[in-house]
């Protein structure tokens, strides 16, 4: 899968016995690992395994309580972010931290702009240098344009250019692919490989194990703040990694075969000008329909129209055979549609509320038709609905903000199920939650389908879509390019359609060729 190890480079950064505690919580315990020049080194582990703490120590945000950091063999203390940068360590965060109103070039050179006469900023030199960096990365950019409005992927490339401009010897990528489409991931990988070949030491923190195998030379697994294993990725399998991460074997996606009932939701010719066009599909009771596609293909946008958050410009939506047209989410909810939005914090939960208050929020009018709210009823209903979900909580009176990501997601699910939907739209239901919770969410989704719900599953996690769905509809730039039944779905087929090849042309996909392109 990966080529032979890029030269047995000497360790560029070596950690010896690093420990870090926050209060009584040990985030890192006696961790030792090394990062070599010219390698891409994966760091994996469940949420809370200590990955972020390690990244923050290297970035100078936290100082270790014990242990030594060696930089090219010399013991080094990293006092703060500025020093980390000056030591040639660059960190690219999952969410780029750029200044939206400054231009691309200004962002690249923020803090170390080339100066001209009398120390004033040499604007032309700065633009030329920025352009040079992007040429090196082999990407097209208007360096004079403001950053606002650029995609997440482009902003990450700017962060990488920023790292290059500082001549970084070590590049730390903290979950860089979480919000990228598959195509953007490929572009990023190509660039990261090029940097490796130039001798940069790269630490790649990721939840996506397929990416670890596709990109990285070695992988290190953390569990509960401890170093578990470091090995060449060629000597590991996905199952090995997962076993090391969770310390037990888990079946990734417990898909259950359900009897499939009558059509509950039928969409035809659905159009929203400039966003998607002529989208058609149907979902049956008990069925999980995967909605795949690259980021920006219009998956969430279709969901928003189905839920009444946006208006359609054309086409028909039928629920149980009846033509519907929603002007607002409340209308969609009373017709039996529930929508679990992509962003849990932004759109899913009211963090100031208790679990009980969150769960009953969508059903307040039905629960309390006479305006007055009763806390006792609320608690009872919330308890009923959270029971099946195994939420780790002290009780339904606990504030939802105090729960972990996976448990919050379960509360969001409980909330929507309380509204008694017939069609459930899940938008990235497992993003950013750890593997244990992920498996549990998958189990819940399967159970919900088994109970007769029609489920639309939107996910950027291709293995997840493939494993969970009974049928997969693939969108590309706002149009349906394929509808693939479970038995015939492969990553290659889905990706082929997602990159804009109509289902008809795929007859004899040169599998080797597509395989090549994902290898870059």
């Amino acid at each position: 899968m990966t080529e032979t190890m890029a030269g047995p480079g000497a360790p560029h950064i070596e950690l010896r016995g690093i420990s870090k505690s926050f209060g009584a919580t040990a985030a890192l315990v006696d961790v030792s690992m090394d990062l070599r020049a010219g390698e891409i080194h994966a760091l994996v582990g469940e949420n809370g395994a200590g990955k972020s703490t390690l990244v923050k120590i290297l970035a100078g945000v936290h100082q270790p309580d014990g242990g030594t950091i060696l930089l090219d063999g010399a013991p080094t203390l990293i006092h703060g972010p500025a020093q980390s940068r000056s030591l040639g360590i660059a960190v690219v965060h999952q969410e780029p931290r750029l200044f939206p109103d400054l231009t691309v070039a200004e962002n690249v050179f923020i803090g170390h702009a080339p100066s001209g006469l009398l120390g004033s900023i040499d604007w032309r030199g700065m633009r030329r240098a920025a352009q040079g960096l992007f040429d090196e990365l082999d990407v097209q950019f208007d360096v004079g344009a403001p950053v606002r409005g650029l995609s997440m992927a482009d902003q990450q490339l700017i962060e990488i250019a920023k790292a290059l401009s500082a001549d970084a010897g070590a590049l730390i990528l903290d979950e860089p692919t979480a919000s990228l489409s598959a195509h953007e991931v490929e572009r990023l990988f190509a660039i990261v490989r090029r940097l490796r070949d130039r001798g940069v030491a790269i630490l790649f923190v990721s939840h996506r194990l397929d990416e670890v195998f596709a990109l990285c030379d070695r992988a290190t697994v953390f569990r509960d703040g401890r170093h578990v294993v470091t090995a060449n990725t060629s000597d590991l399998t996905t199952a090995d990694l997962i076993r090391h991460m969770v310390g037990r074997t888990v079946s990734l996606f417990p898909k259950v075969e359900n009897p499939i009932g009558e059509v509950l939701l039928e969409v035809s010719g659905l159009t929203r000008v400039g966003v998607f066009r002529d989208v058609g599909f149907s979902v049956r009771a008990g069925e999980i329909l995967g909605l795949a596609g690259l980021v920006g293909a219009g998956r969430s946008e279709v969901a928003r129209v189905l839920f009444g958050l946006d208006r359609r410009d054309g086409g028909e939506v039928r629920i149980g055979g009846k033509l519907v047209d929603f002007a607002a989410p409340s209308a969609a909810m009373s017709a039996g549609i529930a929508y679990l939005p992509e962003d849990r914090h932004q759109e899913g939960l009211v963090l100031d509320f208790t679990i009980a208050q969150n769960v009953t929020l969508p059903i307040l009018p039905r629960l309390f038709p006479r305006l007055l709210v009763s806390a006792a009823t609320e608690r009872r209903v919330a308890t009923e609905h959270t029971e099946q979900f195994n939420v780790r909580m002290t009780g339904v009176d606990q504030e939802v903000g105090a729960l972990s990501g996976g448990n919050q997601q379960k509360v969001v699910l409980a909330k929507w199920l309380a509204s008694g939907p017939r069609v459930l739209i899940l938008d990235e239901p497992t993003r950013g939650i750890d593997i244990g919770a992920k498996v549990e969410v998958h189990r819940l989704i399967s159970e919900l389908a088994a109970s007769g719900l029609a489920i639309i599953l939107i996910s950027s996690d291709l293995p997840e879509v493939l494993a969970m769905s009974d049928r997969i509809v693939v969108l590309h730039e706002g149009r349906v390019t394929a509808e693939i039944p479970r038995g015939q779905a492969t990553q290659e087929r889905v990706m082929f359609a997602a990159t804009g090849n109509l289902a008809g042309d795929e007859g004899d996909v040169p599998v080797a060729a597509t395989g090549e392109s994902t290898r870059g």
């Binding site: 009584a24 929508y339 962003d343 105090a402 729960l403």
Partner: protein, 342 residues
Amino acid sequence: MAELPVAPTMEARPARYRWLMAIGRQRELSLVAIMFVLGAGVSLIAPQFLSVENFSQVATLAAVIAVAAVGEAFVIITRGIDLSVEAIIGLVAYCVARTLELQVLDPIGAIAMGLAIGLLLGMVNGFIVTMLKVPAIVATLGTLSIFRGIDYVIAGPDQVPLAGLPEGFTDWARADVLGIPVFVLVTIVVVAVGMVLLRSTRFGRQVYAVGSNPEAAAILGIPARLVVFVAFSVCGLLSGLAGIMWVMQFGTINGTAATGATLAIVAAVVVGGVNTLGGSGTLAGAAIGALFLGFIANALILVGLSQFWLQAIYGLVILVAIAGDQVIRRSVQRANTRSGTR
């Protein structure tokens, strides 16, 4: 405090966390406690502080601010702010006083008109914020100026003297029922109705949801714009009520009535524990905040400090309250994330 060790054990952390949460939550009690301590100090220097007359006077004066503060709290909980409250109070006060002086309406009619004007002006604010999508702070800065400008145009250089008001109208500010000033009773009724509205109705839940997380509220099908509009309308209505009380309280009214009152009103809301970023806080807190500020003003006079200090002290109290909230919130968050990383 013995239960606050430097290196907390697993048992102690939740205790500390709850302790912080309690302070964060029970702002009303903390304020009352501070008032007791301060009051004890002041009464040593100025014994007349502890008289029933003084207490009624403080409470009556605070009641006008408290009623407006309850309205302001509604708006702030939905993530807005209404800077125009003082202009609404002033305009309503002048209109009510002038109508009574000209004997166009009887007192009941004038009060109804005052409430209607307040409601209307609040709806204007709500319309500008929700339909024209102007940020609340800018929108109400504009209407602050507009409402006050209208007040100046109507009033000109004239003032309505105490003698111009119908006999007995201003007595309400000094009347009591079973020893409790009528103004205080009015405030209690306003707070009680408002609390029931916010705590025990669907609408109240929606108010907090919109303030805490507007995006989530939208996805839940909560009509956020309607909720914000209603909050501004309620604020206008209660400012109108405060304007009527202002007339009863002061009698002589000109075009500048209540100028600068917004500071005290917002201060009361913030001191009362309403989150300036929306989503949490209680109306009782806002009312007690107003009482707290009135109490400080009273104490200043009795201790012999100049009234001129008042403005600066209000500002200071706002800052201390917000900074204190931040400290508590951060500690609670830290306790949260730590117990969450297990």
